[in-house]
């Protein structure tokens, strides 16, 4: 059986191998995704993001356990940063989800950001499709909400769960700008700690500026004690219902599809340009000239474009 058939057949090893191939940009995997693309779009994709130390993995673990009790199947993509210096990474999110490792209804995959331009979102979107074809009911994408690309990924989900934690102090100010638009549901984890109330108030105040018709709910949780998890799941499901009832799900998916197509075109173009200009060498040479002020970057860009015309 080929990988695609094995994927449809529900083989975890096929899922795993295909994700690797997508991560490594292998053509065969793209062909399989082309073939089975019509089988995607069924899973509810949930992006989980928030500052480091907010307890995202623990929360994910608890959400999954609850959904498993309802008989739902789950895929998880946990993304951690790759070291820009060595290209290596330590992906440690499974530590919080160890009990789920052997659960046949759960598939967990860790990914490093690997730092390629646009590569991460491409790999993530590919992995989401693979899990979707595989047939899980929910797909969680967990990222640390610090880099723009990570936030972008969370944004592409159907529902974005923003996890906050008391006592971040000024950090919340920094995140503020980004979270207004992307959080569909807010969770304040470790809500038994000092400052939980203040964090809630701060988020509520920010949400007061929200001009859309739906005000995101703010749920206090204590993930390690399994408190507030049921309520959080209700909020997540309600968001999906809201998206469906208002027709926004369709709109959102059109928007995301458009973004994805544009992204793919950009990448193809880039590759094409780099290929034509004999593997970056010409770009490198021009870059040197630009740096030495022998040439300006505008003309350099035009020069390269001239070549492929």
């Amino acid at each position: 059986m080929d990988l695609g058939a094995r994927l449809l057949n529900g083989e975890k090893r096929a899922v795993a191998r295909l994700i690797t191939m997508i991560e490594n940009n292998e053509k065969e995997a793209v062909n399989i995704l082309k073939k089975y693309y019509n089988k995607t779009g069924k899973a509810h994709v949930i992006g989980i993001t928030g500052p480091p130390g907010a307890g995202k993995s623990t929360l994910t673990d608890k959400l999954i356990k609850q959904l498993r009790k309802e008989g739902k199947t789950i895929g998880v993509i946990a993304i951690d940063p790759t070291s820009p210096f060595t290209g290596g990474s330590i992906l440690g999110d499974r530590v919080r989800m160890n009990e789920l490792s052997t659960d046949p209804g759960v598939f967990i995959r860790s990914m490093g950001t690997r730092g390629q331009l646009g590569g991460l979102s491409k790999a993530t979107q590919g992995a989401v499709k693979i899990l979707d074809i595989y047939g899980v009911d929910y797909i969680f994408i967990e990222t640390v909400g610090v880099g723009q690309s990570e936030v972008d990924i969370a944004k592409n989900a159907d529902t974005t769960l923003m996890v906050m934690v008391p006592g971040l102090g000024d950090d919340i100010q920094a995140i503020k700008a980004g979270i207004m638009e992307i959080g569909d549901v807010f969770a304040i984890n470790k809500a038994d700690r000092d400052g939980a109330k203040r964090t809630a108030t701060e988020i509520e105040i920010m949400l007061d500026f929200n001009k859309t018709d739906r005000r995101p709910p703010v749920q206090k949780v204590i993930a390690i004690e399994n408190k507030g998890i049921d309520e959080l799941i209700v909020h997540i499901k309600e968001h999906m219902n809201y998206l469906k009832e208002t027709g926004q799900l369709h709109k959102k998916r059109i928007k995301n599809s458009k973004l994805e197509i544009v992204d793919l075109i950009q990448q193809k173009m880039m590759n094409m340009i780099l290929d034509r200009s004999s593997k970056e060498e010409i770009v490198d040479k021009l870059a040197k000239d630009v740096a030495l002020r022998k040439l300006d970057p505008y003309s350099a860009g035009e020069k390269i474009l001239e070549e492929i015309k």
């Binding site: 975890k12 090893r13 899922v15 795993a16 191998r17 994700i19 690797t20 991560e23 490594n24 940009n25 790759t82 070291s83 060595t86 290209g87 290596g88 990474s89 330590i90 992906l91 440690g92 499974r94 530590v95 160890n98 490792s101 052997t102 598939f107 967990i108 995959r109 860790s110 490093g112 690997r114």
Partner: protein
């Protein structure tokens, strides 16, 4: 494209001494690998499940509890049962020399005992994974 080697670093058994596992995880990362770290008290079943889902090329296990003769072969056994034959399985920790032939016979490709430089482990992984 030069893709990173993916390695699962796991601690089977109940001992909590993870200094070695953490040091090796860091060293592998600094050697450009993607390390999936799973933490303490992993059963052989959990290790294999994780290895399959993560599609790793190598499983590196650290054990200091003395249960190596039971737990390490069990990991290989379950891998075989799952039909996986392309993952390099390694062990490390306080393992007496006289146990090493037995473990190798059971399919653990190499055993790294205390005092092994991390560079040696890195090199071994690079040279022995299936690509």
């Amino acid at each position: 494209m030069d893709r990173p080697i993916r390695v699962l670093v796991a601690k089977p058994g109940l001992d909590g001494h993870d200094r070695g596992a953490k040091v090796i995880a860091r060293a592998l990362r600094d050697a450009g690998m993607e390390v999936i770290y799973t933490g303490l008290r992993q059963t052989p079943e959990q290790i294999v499940s994780a290895a399959i889902q993560e599609d790793v090329e190598c499983i590196a296990m650290s054990i200091l509890s003395g249960a190596h003769n039971t737990l390490l072969p069990k990991v290989v056994e379950i891998l075989q049962k799952e039909g996986v034959d392309d993952i390099l399985v390694l062990g490390g920790g306080v393992i007496p020399d006289e146990d090493i032939p037995f473990l190798k016979e059971k399919g653990i490709k190499e055993i790294f005992t205390p005092g092994t430089p991390t560079s040696k482990t890195i090199e071994f992984i690079r040279n022995n994974i299936k690509r």
